[in-house]
């Protein structure tokens, strides 16, 4: 048992060192839901350089045809993009990282609550994977929840910031939908509580 645990920690350490090698290991957005084990780094404050995303993941207005009303959030997990609908054929697009939880479900939710610099209470599954994590961490820079969180309905799922900007574009082990802090702040300021959120997954075979 103890040996097994050491093995896991070692494996995570290996994954961790890889994750710092930024863009090179970042899978293209078309890769699907193959989840990379990247442990949380509570307390880590990224540099402004790290916060600068690859061009395709930067916040930008794009063509997006939809029947959803302006103001609706549409998340495409497979593409690693979150769209905020602006009109019938345009949206503001944000690059996202998708956590294991983000792949669990598709469908409709509403933003039930918003918070800036939220506190973090790692769920028990995460503690099991990474026993060294704190049981509670107050909000602020270095908190894995980042600068803001939008809570989705009555679920445990949320759209939140991150202190690990190099996980944008990836499918990672923990978290739900993560944006870089400047993006999640931008989104926080644009959408009110009650905003409709549509989540779309890749088709199953």
């Amino acid at each position: 048992m103890r040996l097994g645990l050491t093995g896991i920690v070692l494996a995570m350490a290996a994954a961790f060192s890889l994750s710092t090698a930024d863009a090179q290991m970042r899978p293209p957005a078309t890769l699907g839901a193959q989840i990379v084990d990247v442990p949380e780094k509570p307390g880590y404050v990224p540099s402004p350089d790290e916060e600068q995303l690859d061009p395709q993941f930067r916040r930008q207005p794009v063509f997006f045809r939809t029947n959803e009303a302006p103001g609706t959030i549409v998340i495409h997990t497979n593409e690693r993009f979150l769209y905020l609908v602006l009109g019938p054929s345009s949206a503001l697009r944000y690059g996202i990282g998708v956590g294991r939880d983000g792949f669990q479900w598709a469908g409709l939710q509403k933003v039930s609550r918003k918070a800036e610099w939220p506190d973090w209470t790692p769920p028990s599954e995460m503690i099991e994977r990474q026993p060294y994590l704190p049981r509670f961490m107050a909000g602020g820079p270095g908190n894995p929840m980042g600068a803001a969180a939008l809570y989705l309905g009555q679920t445990v799922y949320r759209i939140h910031g991150t202190n690990m900007p190099n996980t944008i574009g990836m499918a990672v082990s923990s978290g739900c939908f993560r944006l870089v802090n400047s993006d999640v702040q931008d989104l926080y300021n644009r959408v009110p509580v009650g905003t409709k959120v549509v989540i779309r997954q890749a088709p199953e075979l």
């Binding site: 061009p55 997006f64 045809r65 949206a91």
Partner: protein, 337 residues
Amino acid sequence: MNKLACALATAGALFATSLAHADTLADVKARGTLKCGVSQGLEGFSAKDDKGQWTGFDVDFCRAVAASVLGDAAKVDYVPLSAEARFPALQKGEVDLLSRNSTWTLQREADLKLMFAGISYYDGQGFMVPAAKNVMGALELNNSKVCTQRGTTSALNAQDYFRQNKMTLELIELPTVDEVVKAYADGRCDVLTTDVSQLYALRLKLAKPADHIVLPDVISKEPLGPVVRQGDDAWLNVVKWNLFALLNAEELGISQPTLDQALSSQKPDVKRFVGTDGSYGEQLGLTKDWAVRIVKSVGNYGEVFERNIGTSSKLGIPRGINQLWSMGGIQYAPPIR
């Protein structure tokens, strides 16, 4: 952007000769190669790489047809054609198929006696601006200096668009594309306008491409697609359903990495696609595994797009309007059943 259309009208007369024999599918099978008309070199769409191999979005379509008809994506004889030569070459039977960024228009079907098999790429005129301007859409471009190439429809479209939306512009028309790019790079204009696919290609020529964005607005229609001769419906069907197979594969989640999984899938529409149910390939004059061979050779539509022109390629064109209808775009293929 089609100044040459008039010159081609006369070529329609040549069509009469090709009617005498119209079983292109049998010809291609007997010959063992597909003669595919492509461009003379357009980065991302059809161009020779440094090893002399043809690559690109349009080239992959040729490869897909060869894979489904001949069982081998490599059995393509590429015929590079100028804008002037492309339609006469098809009419005279020098190529079986044109896969060469050609816009679908009425004149090309009704007058030139050709048939477009579908729309593989929705192009259209757009605008590029410096990202630092923080512009969200073309309607925010009032009082802009707009650079474009002289004598193209782009200049007319831009003027129309600004007038219709009660905005003013100062149009700066320059004789060549290179001069347009230079004027934009030097800050002589705030906006550059031409077809969106070209905007992305031109962006590569700027010192810092990522500092410039292409706005989401598309103000003209330039639907590009593969073209065949009129009078051979069976061949039109083969080419058309090749395009539909690429799109359906993506919609069904069938890609190169998931192809093996798809072969043992129990989902009815996946089974029809891979040929474990029905005889759809045979109905086209092909084999049961026709669509499997397409995906095995080139991948699905999304894979072809990303590899050649998508955000992970040099060109970096987002899917945008070419996204599937179910994902916010307008690419839509009828079902295989």
